[in-house]
């Protein structure tokens, strides 16, 4: 039986996977448009652009990770889902929020940096690593949010 608490926990998981996934989709989408532009000028740069394009994709995976941890915690996948109290459900929901919000926004911003990075690669292909490092800088905050969300979800309920 699903209680309000369990519903809130699932809502948290859905927000983490959904919002971070939306962010990644936007970020990777922007990257893809720029990559197509650069590749049309010089097909050899496809590889470099592809790496840059994929960078904002990790937030979506982190969202999936948190959602999955929530499912394991509330035993959703094993068939006997836990009946959480309202407070427990809210706790898990709160735990999911850092990644949901930071994942959404950081992926979009990382996408923007990746697009600029492609402009850099188009002009100076040898500076690819610098473009990558610049984009990876943004991801640090998604990782910190992942850490907090993970710890909160993991230790929120016994």
């Amino acid at each position: 039986m699903i209680t309000i608490g369990t519903f809130l926990a699932i809502l948290g998981a859905a927000l983490a996977a959904g919002l971070a996934g939306i962010g990644s989709a936007i970020g990777v989408g922007m990257g893809g448009q720029a990559a197509a532009g650069v590749t049309s000028e010089d097909p050899d740069k496809f590889g470099s652009c592809l790496i840059l394009q994929l960078l904002p994709g990790t937030q979506g995976i982190y969202g999936l990770l948190i959602a999955f941890i929530v499912f394991i915690k509330i035993k959703l996948l094993s068939g006997a889902v836990l009946a959480l109290s309202l407070a427990e459900g809210l706790g898990i929901l709160a735990g999911c929020l850092p990644l949901a919000i930071v994942g959404l926004i950081s992926a979009i911003h990382q996408g923007k940096v990746a697009v600029s990075g492609m402009a850099l690669v188009a002009k100076r292909p040898e500076e690819q690593s610098k473009a990558i490092v610049m984009a990876v800088m943004v991801e640090t905050y998604a990782i910190l949010a992942l850490l907090i969300s993970f710890l909160a979800v993991f230790f929120a309920i016994k």
């Binding site: 995976i61 990770l65 800088m137 991801e139 990782i143 910190l144 850490l147």
Partner: protein, 669 residues
Amino acid sequence: MALLPFKKLTLIAHASDEEKILTLLSRTGSAEIIKTSEIEHCAAGDANDREEGILSESAELAFCLDFWRAERTRLNKIRKKQTEERKITNYEPKKVSLLDKIRAKKPDVSFDEFDRIGADRSEVRAAYKRLREISQEESELKGEESRNLSLIEQLSYYTCADIPFDRLKGDRRVSVSVGLVPADLYKGSDFADLPVLYLQELGERQRVVTLFVAYPTEERGLCEERLSAIGFSKATFTFPMTATEKIAELRARNEEIFRTSVSLAEEAVAIEDKMRPQVEILFDYCRVEQEKCQAIDKTFRSGTSFVLTAWVPAHLAESTETALGNSGATYYSIYEDPKEGEAYPTFTKNNPVVAPYESITNMYSAPSPREIDPNPFVAFFYFVLFGLMVSDAAYGLILALFGFGLYAIRKPRKGEGQLLLVIGMGGVSTLIWGIMFGGYFGETFHPVLFSPMNDPMSMLILSIGMGVFQILFGMGIAFVAKCKNKKPLEAIFGEGSWFVLFIALGLFVMSGMLSGMSGLKLPSLILLGMGGAGVLIGGALGRKGLKGKLAGAFSNVYGVTGFMSDILSYCRLFGLGLATGVVGMVVNKIAFILMDLIPVVGYLLFVAVLVVGHVFNIAINTLGAYVHNSRLQYVEFFSRFYTGGGHIFKPMGSNLKYIYLSDKGGKEL
């Protein structure tokens, strides 16, 4: 395992031997020509005219290569579209097996062949000339084709008039013609007041009406005025054919044009099959010639002699000198050590395990020549952290097989394919960490240390611990480097006081937590004070004035936050390590659910989901490990001790695009 020393070669020789010496140096691969410092009563070398000639030849060769690619693409498109009934071309693209594709590399060319092709360019010139003609002819044909197409488009309005155009002339008394008029204007018009004008509507197409018009020649002015008022335009064709016949003729002509241009393209491709290697060799020959010109620009010369300066790696100096001696040129050479503070190129030499990681370091910045070579340290940490991030034994085995396997099949030349080795070694590291964590395709099986999924806190502590270790290690390197450079004060008050501070902090925390160690509280506090004071003094060192010293001291204390954020940055090890396991687990779960849900087909789906899912997981995590590992080296590790900014030794004659120049039979320099 280090950065190799260089000698500065100053060479004075007779101008008549210049070409000989430059050619020799472009082949020994041991000399990077630099600008010779100004000499009185001498002029700087100037090879601009010669370089211009070479550049225009290069452009011709580049035209050939581009043209061939375009023609091949065009033929390939036609070949794919053609049917059995309408066979246009027999062109078949060369079939290259996957194995050959992996093995593909620049062909070996001996010096003799290089010189032979450089000396006799008649064949390549002839090929270029013919290709130019083909290109010209093709564009003319293309022009004719599009003119024909637009004529066909115009004529298609007249297919309703089955009368040859040359018969539409009329005579002294009657004028006849056909023409077009916009349907809207024509339909609304009324010519009842002009009975002499005869109009017949022949047909209508796309809101344009084709009209046959006849009127007495003497009424011409009036009739034409009325007709042009409704936008009538007379056909000006005069050929002795109907529109339908003419269209058929034009279509036939276009087909002929198409076939001619295809056969021209086939000819171009046939020339490519025969000439491509020569063109590529000549292209690279031009590049070497261009490098020679740039070398000449850097010399200083009098009327009969010239002075050339170059950096030569010390271990190649002797062989270079021997080669110069054997060349028979008249010259005088000096080899000097670099002066204090003089920048020279970077030449790293590392053992085969460390060497692949040079590519990682060089992507950031090559070491400057007087720095400590960071590559051995980068190699160690990159190796360890890579596995920690991917952290699945099965994935590690696959990556190792992939990296080393591809390298073995490809057999790249020395210094190439380093990324494959980095991936292969990363695979080994992943295998080891995977066994430690008990991760196999996302499932947990008897971990040696702990399973990150079940014990995330341990994983977090391990990640942070790795960060603390690497950062302290980096500071250790800086400490040693400063001592070596005779700046012990900076070392002690810089890195040294931070070390004291960290140790004191550790002791203080321990004394608070462990009851038996409470006696350490006071000593640790004293140490803490000493470390703090050291950090303050370190910041003040080298600053001028009281204000500057104070500012320096406090900005150094602010560095604490830098340490904190750098160490927290290693959380990415935790995040990425866990992500691999979780995504792998998701893939397995989906596969099993599908197998249970759908009978028979479920088994196929089970296998498909597993294969695709795990390949995706390996790919995305390897990319993540590669990228984030690089970042940890560049941002967190290098900021402690490494500046870089060197430029990699690039000897004259190494700037080749298509070939690999070597003299296997001759002496290896």
